[in-house]
């Protein structure tokens, strides 16, 4: 049985994720809440953004993800108005806010450091923005009560920030954004100062709050788990440009470049320098000790005999070969990391080749040990191919 809210969230995520796809009649195509065009920004001689376009639909959860220095935080700060663009435009709703100061943009931001006002109580922290905007005391009270209920802040309202734990500060920071009821929520790596258990908890809470409030959200993180789990649309950035955007699963399954393929997914994708060869009616990428079967329909005309490629296989698609399965290579095991329900085996196929990571069942992991040689097979159709020069995927589409 499907619960009503599950149905709702599925239909919403589909609608908001693919703007190109014509939306169902019941959910008319949504307006753009935030749109950035041709954003360029340098600090001194150092270009940070080299021309970025970003669109977020009303009510959608967009996540900017990328390694440090890729420009994701700068892009967020540009939307907030804390930095000014060198070139390009920013629209929030219908309004051109390219040169508007932060206070005139109707955005709320949750900072990595939480940035609570140290001299104000939790209640005053929450009310600060509303007071500045001359909201009536009655409204302030009501909104503070509402937000504190939503985030279970009730007992903390009269405490000072220094009396709060990291997780509590984080919730107050979110509450301060929520009471504002802004056009768009901006999150700058809000979970990176929390410990792992709390991070997972707050992550779910952020998504739950979003589903409840339907507030347009732009979220910056370098953590791919956060990115994958929270996003309606994922924007993978690298070197000041957007490398790829799409739903998290699309991006994960069809990375447009070697960078995106390597950045998303943990443990990281295995890459081999290989040559394409045709054996009978099967295409293979052969090199560095690997013989990887390639799905023909995915790559189409890109498959030519003798072409050099970078072949990528995720560790989870590189498993022990069953009887009769074609062998993709023999893993010389160096280290086994047992995770309980499965294990990760580290090693190499040939001594001169790259390090290789494969997945083992918990049972196999118990038997395997360092120095073993394990025959590996590739899950059919899971191999990725990239052009070694451009780094772009060779997918036909």
């Amino acid at each position: 049985m499907t619960l009503p809210h599950e149905q709702l969230s599925t239909s919403v995520s589909v609608a908001s994720a693919s703007s190109e796809v014509s939306a169902p009649a019941t959910a008319p195509k949504r307006k753009l809440r935030c749109s950035v065009r041709g954003a360029k920004k340098s600090f001194g001689q150092n270009p940070i953004l080299r021309g970025v376009d970003l669109d977020i639909e009303e009510g959608a959860f967009a996540v900017l993800v990328g390694p440090s220095g890729c420009g994701k935080s700068t892009l967020l700060r540009l939307v907030a108005g804390l930095e000014e663009l060198d070139e390009g435009t920013i629209h929030l709703g219908e309004r051109d806010v390219t040169h508007a100061p932060p206070r005139d943009r109707d955005v709320a931001m949750v900072f990595q450091s939480y940035a609570l006002y140290p001299h104000l109580s939790v209640r005053e922290n929450l009310a600060f923005g509303l007071k500045l905007r001359k909201t009536s005391d009655k409204d302030i009270d009501e909104r503070v009560r509402e937000a504190s209920k939503m985030l279970s802040l009730g007992e903390l309202l009269d405490r000072m920030p220094k009396q709060l734990s990291g997780g509590q500060k984080q919730r107050v920071a979110m509450g301060r954004a929520i009471v504002r009821r802004p056009q768009i929520f901006l999150f700058d790596e809000p979970l990176s100062n929390l410990d792992a258990a709390l991070r997972a908890e707050v992550r779910v809470e952020i998504r739950r709050n979003h589903d409840q409030l339907r507030a347009t959200t732009l979220y910056v993180t370098h953590d791919q788990v956060e990115a994958m789990t929270l996003a309606d649309t994922l924007w993978v950035m690298n070197g000041g440009v957007v490398e790829q955007k799409g739903t998290p699963l699309d991006v994960y399954e069809r990375p447009r470049s070697e960078f995106v393929a390597g950045f998303l997914g943990s443990p990281q994708m295995n890459f081999f320098d290989a040559k394409l060869e045709k054996e009978g009616d099967r295409w293979l990428a052969i090199g560095e000790g690997a013989r990887i079967a390639i799905g023909e329909e995915r790559f189409g005309a890109a498959l030519t005999e003798g072409r050099t490629v970078r072949a990528g296989v995720r560790p989870h698609d590189l498993v022990r070969a069953e009887e009769g399965q074609p062998i993709a290579g023999n893993l010389h095991v160096e280290i086994i990391e047992a995770l309980g329900f499965e294990a990760i085996a580290h090693g190499w196929l040939t001594a001169s080749g790259p390090r290789v990571i494969a997945r083992l069942d918990a049972d196999e992991a118990r038997k395997a040990k360092s120095g073993d040689s394990i025959p590996l097979a590739v899950t059919p159709g899971s191999a990725h191919l990239f052009d070694p020069k451009t780094g772009l995927a060779l997918d036909a589409k």
């Binding site: 108005g81 804390l82 100061p101 955005v107 006002y117 001299h119 500045l132 920030p161 901006l186």
Partner: protein
């Protein structure tokens, strides 16, 4: 852990706290001893007498010295003393207010903005701190003379501010640097202008540091003697350190009155410290504790 070793540990802890307390009490006595002597001398009508032993106990305790300090019933003398006390307080308060008033914007600019001359400015300020005030006594005298500010509170404030301002800028720049830019940005996103963010967030967050700096400026002006003695010659313009010094001049030393004066001089400062101690403690530890 066995009971024996636990009680052994308790005993050690008890011993440790005993030693610490003994050391603290000794330190307090060491610091208090001269002060108790001052009180004792102030309460002894003859001042220091040879019959005093090592214990700071007054001989024939009375308030005669205080009476003498306030003019022995002459209202003109009492009035003069009151005026001198007022001089001291006004000059010290004005110095503190000037120092803080000038230093807050300067320190904020130096902490937050990158502008041409910021580094050189800081270095120049540092350089001004390297000269002892006495070295500039003569030039200051000539300067104030030319400005017709000798024997005036305004002149003294100007002189004191010239050393208090650079110091305050240093102190407050450090305090502003310790306040994360994030909270200013949060305020601006929340709807504040840059100025509002400064008044509503930065300044309150820096309040302990500002209190300490103001107190320091107040104290250094309130206690200053050498420049005051150089620049003031009219009795009605004197500040209290100069007044007190007169009692132990070339024509004999009235230690009793001097001690009584020392106590009277200390009272406003003690009151101020008592009032500001909460700020002071958090100001002195600010930066060491992560908010």
């Amino acid at each position: 852990m066995s009971n024996a070793s636990r009680s052994e540990r308790n005993r050690l802890e008890f011993l440790e706290s005993g030693v610490i307390h003994a050391l603290l009490i000794a330190a307090v006595l060491f610091a208090l001893y001269p002060l108790l002597w001052v009180v004792s001398i102030a309460l002894s009508p003859g001042g220091i007498s040879t019959s005093h032993g090592a214990l700071p106990l007054p001989t024939h305790p009375s308030l005669w010295n205080f009476h003498a300090l306030l003019g022995k019933g002459s209202s003109a003398r009492a009035w003069l003393f009151g005026r001198q006390l007022a001089n001291s307080i006004i000059v010290a308060v004005a110095t503190a207010v000037t120092a803080i008033g000038v230093a807050i914007p300067a320190a904020y600019a130096l902490a937050r903005f990158d502008f041409v001359g910021a580094k050189t400015g800081m270095r120049t300020l540092l350089a001004t701190q390297m000269f002892p005030a006495v070295a500039s006594a003569v030039p200051l005298y000539l300067l104030l003379d030319a400005l017709h500010l000798l024997d005036s509170r305004a002149g003294l404030v100007l002189v004191y501010a010239s050393t208090a301002v650079p110091f305050a800028i240093f102190q407050l720049r450090g305090a502003f640097l310790a306040i994360p830019v994030d909270i200013e940005e949060a305020a601006m996103v929340d709807g504040a202008t840059r100025t509002e963010a400064f008044w509503r967030v930065v300044l309150p967050a820096a309040r302990p540091a500002i209190a300490v700096t103001a107190l320091y400026a107040f104290m250094s002006a309130y206690n200053e003697f050498i420049l005051a003695a150089t620049l003031l010659s009219r009795e009605s313009a004197f500040t209290l350190p100069v007044v007190l010094q007169r009692y132990v001049g070339e024509h004999g030393a009235a230690w009793g009155i001097f001690a009584a004066g020392a106590i009277v001089v200390s009272l406003p400062v003690m009151a101020l410290f008592y009032y500001a101690q909460r700020h002071l403690v958090s100001g002195l530890t600010a930066g060491g504790v992560k908010g």
